[in-house]
Amino acid sequence: MSATPSPVLTPVLSDNWDAERAWTLESYESLGGYAALHKALGMAQADIVEAVKDSGLRGRGGAGFPTGMKWSFIPQDNPKPKYLVVNADESEPGTCKDVPLMMASPHTLVEGVIISSYAIRANHAFIYVRGEVLHVVRRLQQAVAEAYAAGHLGKDIHGSGYDLDLVVHAGAGAYICGEETALLDSLEGRRGQPRLRPPFPAVAGLYASPTVINNVESIASVPAIVANGAEWFSSMGTEKSKGFVLYSLSGHVKRPGQFEAPLGITLRELIDLAGGMREGHELKFWTPGGSSTPLLTAEHLDMPLDYEAVGEAGSMLGTRALQIFDDTTCVVRAVLRWTEFYKHESCGKCTPCREGTWWLVQTLARLEAGQGTEEDLDVLLDQCENILGRSFCALGDGATSPITSSIEYFREEFLAHLSHGGCPFDPAASTVFAAQGAHA
């Protein structure tokens, strides 16, 4: 959303966001929208899958699994119907890319859904969208209605003989429903809790039928790949992390927002694009992909933001939700707030996550209040060790990330709480309403 085009930005998904009434079909089509669909319907399904494979597109929902490979897992000899489900339950703290995308240009996603469904031979697709973002739900519903009216959805799309129905389903507000199998349970009308795997969704997903579940941004990237070719897409990014992504910067930067750039850009470049840190303050720590990814510090400013480099630094690229915290922020306080989130959102199915987050919050709250001893830090780390890799799904793992990483980088700050008898920071100083020049 930068006003002046920057040489490092690659606006593809966000290219039309500043167009007049960008969310309408009229606007979308006037900028060439649905041409990729027309091209795709003229291609063999396998060729589309191949193109997505060749492009190197990796899942944008956090895990980074190659999208084309996921599609090829769908057994085509299974007599059951096949489904495409778009995971639009964006709930990770700090992540704000799918909601703006669907808000500004829902047709980008709808076109992606149609092409992707055609590629995997699905005649029924779903967008599972987070229920709290009502405005986005309405935009999506409106876009789907427009697409039906224009013949992009429904029977015999563009005269190709291909049929597709697309349902926009609003969730009821649970972080766990972003976990793909919990999402399927929720979509089926059950309580959202993760399912046992195997069977994997590719074999027995929605209604026990072969199902592909992709993130909004992954599916939205497909029309551009079909339109411009795999080579165009893979010309961007780094060796193993191809293409462009939406980076969402939030926190203590001057101009927070979404920045679409190739994989491999550095945080330093992104902060520059966001106008720099808050006046008079330094970067203290940041998350590369939301609160479930271990936090990093200023020493990682020049690390390329791609799957490999961030992984090497001990974190994960995740959803590229770059939450930026400056030196006014108490890391203990921030971590406690995140942990409270995980406690609130733990679905309760498995013991380590359900009970562990309950305990973690109590331990952290004591530490923040300056109670306890240094040994409590070891107990805290031991609790994390007993949750990480022991819980049923990744929610529990994510809950431990901010704790273990913050103790790794800021152990002294935890101890300062104990010696200070409470938090040594002024909590008001980190707020957006803090007086200019508030001191740390």
């Binding site: 309580r191 959102e345 380590p352 009970e355 007993n386 049923f392």
Partner: protein, 812 residues
């Protein structure tokens, strides 16, 4: 323990065996085995909560984590794995807590988490002493709580809450393993409890409009790995280590479910399901579990009673006096026309054998019938021709396991959920793996829906035609891989039992008779029927009579087939019979309760063997108290013909089994039955053996009379619900409160005409009853009411079997 790999018979090892290494020990197990069970084969018990061998894996509690250094493909699995969801693979290497520090730490960590929100109330918890959480916290947990050491605050809930009248939930004790909810959904098909809320506030909940009214709810208490679920009846009653456990067999139906009776100081405190994979697996009905206090009812008869010649009142008597009075009176009654014998269906096989012997040897009669319910001559012929002697191992026999492998099970005159709970659970299990169920019934019951069954709607009396129709119409695909289960109620449908036998012969489908009561099948085998002697010897067959006489050591046996139950009562009223020997019969169960009452009043001499005071004992001349099931040894035969022997649970010398009482009367009459104890009776029964001569000929089909339904009348369909006003459920108020309410079901067409009426008055030839009404997919000329859920039951209060009733709507 490695029975698979070391087959002594030298058979080729099953090709689907998988060999893996657990804690350094190589073990071969069948493919698809879960690691947690493979580990049991090498003697390693991995701690677990959510895992249950009869429930689908869920992997929720994470207690059973193990390390897998080699998944069978040469690569390790990076994270510890839940062994309850992990299937074995060839070459897999698993290290449990016994050898792996990683697995041990993972398990200790999960145990610590489980305990942070678990109250330390073991000293007052019913589960304390037999609690998997307590035990495994000792074996796989740390001694000190780091949570409370750092001032942790536990989650608490107000306690307890009723999830049904019988089942209570202490939410703070729950470890959320979901065994109870999974049982209710997967096994019983009653998903009335579910997990609600999330995180640490997740809890088992109910939907208020659909209470947890399941006939199998007690199983959830038994499989709860903590003390979260308790029963209103047992809560706070005793400590497990004060109880003595005795294995036994449930006496409430013909399923022969294995149970465990826990008692303390001569008093039964609770009953649990036993574990018998061949019969009831690990499940029992709530009736089997909770209905045992009838034996402690206030109206138990404590000592023999004889009618005082002077006052005409019953007075206490000694056993010798009572034996003598009974023997004298029966001898006189025999001279005055003869004595009939009614035995009810709740006797053990040994006791029933004693009645059968007593009738033939002491009373010299074949006037004996165990069928304390509407019955028919066709049924007696059917039992002699198609049922008796076809026990386990007989090519025509049907077992629980056979139900699972059957392609199609046809039900006729049988509602398994109400009348044979273990059969229902097995059929439901079978239906989930491909067995189809087809029911000839007036409407599609909830039980049938749970078996995903198909209804072939019949009005009472049309079952014979419907069964014949199955032969002609092959679309249901009944063939030799199918099974036909007929219930005792089919006796009231003329021609239906004969039609079932015919259907079995033409299609090759095997046929089994599933009665309601525990003693029914045993009574058939020992000859408590007018046409059968013990071991299936037909009375009408001279060779069989000679054989039986020789076994009993008597010169000859009465030759004429006897009267059946109805005929015995008629003969008593008519003065043709001089007396009656009756054991465990309730008049309201009989085809005509009023006539039965009158017949007993009219009888010259009545000897009653009973546990509790009844209409019959009040009218009897001699009353001899007999032992309840808990006080005696015995054998029930299941509907399959499987003997289910059990020993006495309580030692109560004053409590005599029927056979001991009958032996006493016989001896006073100058005849020795040849036994005085259960063991002696068993020995004699073994020596008696089964008849190897000709079977009785196939049942002669009863003439199906043309029936006409008068205008505005409806055929009455009925059966007894599992939980109702039956006297053996007396004293169990919490259980009775979970019974399904008494509701009249009418066809949709009638319901529309009723126009919003909430109740109906049904009027038959014996009276009227008013019941709440619900529509059902009944034929347009049929209504249904439960047989014993209101008043004195349908037969006493409403209508005679096979008759029609009128229906009138009322607004409550």
């Amino acid at each position: 323990m490695t029975q698979v790999s070391t087959s002594s018979a030298g058979e080729v090892e099953k090709s689907d065996a998988v060999t893996l290494t657990i804690d350094g020990v190589s073990v071969s197990v069948p493919k698809d085995t879960l690691v947690i069970r493979a580990a049991e084969q090498v003697g390693v018990q991995i701690p677990r909560f959510c895992d249950h061998p009869l429930l689908a894996p869920v992997g929720a509690c994470r207690q059973c984590l193990v390390e897998v250094p080699d998944a069978g493909n040469g690569r390790p699995i990076p994270k510890p794995q839940a062994s309850c969801t992990l299937q074995v693979a060839e070459g897999m290497v698993v290290n449990t807590q016994a050898t792996s520090p990683v697995a041990d730490k993972a398990q200790q960590g999960v145990m610590e988490f489980l305990l942070i929100n678990h109250p330390l109330d073991c000293p007052v918890c019913d589960k304390g002493g037999e609690c998997p959480l307590q035990n495994q916290a000792m074996s796989n947990g740390r001694a000190e709580s780091r949570f409370s050491a750092t001032g942790g605050v536990k989650r608490t809930f107000p306690k307890p809450i009723n999830i049904s009248a019988q089942v209570l939930l202490d939410r703070e004790r729950c470890v959320l393993c979901a065994r109870c909810t999974r049982f209710s959904e997967q096994i019983a098909g009653d998903p009335f409890i579910a997990l609600v809320e999330r995180g640490a506030l997740q809890q088992v909940g109910i939907y208020e409009k659909e209470p947890f009214e399941s006939y199998f709810s007690g199983n959830t208490i038994q499989i709860c790995p903590v003390g979260a679920l308790t029963s209103a009846d047992y809560r706070f009653r005793s400590r497990p280590f004060d109880l003595v456990s005795t294995p036994s067999v449930a006496e409430h139906d013909a399923c022969g479910s294995a149970i465990r009776v826990d008692h303390r100081r001569g008093k039964v405190m609770r009953r649990l399901s036993g574990n018998d994979p061949e019969v009831n697996e690990e499940w029992i009905t709530d009736k089997d579990r909770f209905a045992f206090t009838y034996a402690r009812a206030g109206d138990r008869i404590p000592h023999p009673l004889v009618r005082d010649a002077g006052t005409g009142e019953l007075r206490a008597a000694s056993w010798p006096e009572a034996f003598a009075v009974a023997a004298r009176g029966l001898a006189a009654a025999r001279t005055a026309g003869g004595v009939g014998v009614l035995t009810g269906g709740r006797l053990t096989a040994e006791d029933a054998y004693a009645y059968s012997s007593f009738a033939r040897m002491v009373l010299g009669t074949n006037d004996i019938d165990f069928r304390a319910r509407p019955h028919s001559a066709e049924e007696a012929d059917f039992l002699a021709a198609e049922v008796v002697g076809r026990g386990l191992g007989h090519p025509q026999s049907v077992t629980y396991t056979d139900l699972e492998s059957a392609s199609l099970v046809v039900l006729a005159g049988l509602e398994p959920e109400d009348e044979a709970g273990a059969v229902f659970l097995r059929l439901r299990k079978a239906s989930r793996t491909g067995t189809r169920v087809l029911a000839l019934a007036p409407y599609a019951s909830r039980g049938l829906a749970k078996m995903d069954g198909l209804l072939l709607a019949t009005t009472p009396g049309t079952e014979a035609a419907a069964l014949d129709g199955l032969t002609e119409h092959s679309e249901h695909g009944l063939d030799s891989t199918g099974v036909i289960l007929v219930g005792e109620r089919l006796a009231t449908a003329p021609g239906a039992l004969a039609a079932a036998a015919r259907l079995s012969r033409t299609t090759g489908a095997r046929l089994a008779w599933v009665p309601r009561r525990a003693g029914d099948r045993g009574a058939v085998e020992v000859g408590c029927l007018p046409n059968l002697l013990p071991g299936g010897r037909p009375v009408a067959d001279p060779a069989a009579r000679v054989d039986a006489a020789a076994a009993w050591g008597v010169d000859h046996l009465p030759e004429a087939p006897g009267r059946d139950g109805t005929a015995i009562l008629e003969a008593l009223s008519a003065g043709e019979l001089g007396g009656l020997l009756v054991g465990g019969v309730s008049t309201t169960d009989l085809a005509d309760p009023d006539a039965a009452r009158a017949a007993i009043e009219a009888a010259g001499f009545v000897v009653s063997l009973e546990q509790r005071e009844t209409e019959v004992t009040r009218a009897a001349d001699v009353v001899l108290p007999v032992a309840p099931a808990s006080d005696k040894a015995g054998t029930y035969l299941t509907w399959e013909g499987r003997p289910r022997p059990f020993e006495a649970v309580l030692s109560n010398p004053a409590s005599l089994p029927d056979l001991r009482v009958l032996a006493g009367i016989a001896e006073e009459s100058g005849v020795s039955l040849g036994f005085r104890t259960v063991a002696e009776a068993r020995r004699q029964m073994d020596q008696f053996g089964a008849w190897d001569g000709d079977r009785a000929p196939a049942a002669e089909p009863a003439k199906v009379k043309e029936r006409r339904l008068a205008k505005n009348k409806f055929w009455l369909a009925t059966w007894k619900q599992m939980l109702d006003l039956g006297t053996m459920q007396d004293g169990e108020e919490a259980l009775r409160a979970t019974a399904r309410p008494a509701i009249a079901r009418v066809p949709w067409s009638v319901h529309e005409v009723l126009g919003g009426a909430t109740e109906v008055v049904l009027t038959g030839d014996r009276g009227s009853v008013t019941l709440p009404v619900e529509p059902a997919d009944l034929p347009d000329d049929t209504v249904w009411v439960p047989a014993n859920s209101h008043g004195n039951g349908v037969l006493a209060d409403l209508a005679s079997p096979g008759s029609a009733v009128t229906v009138k709507g009322v607004r409550a």
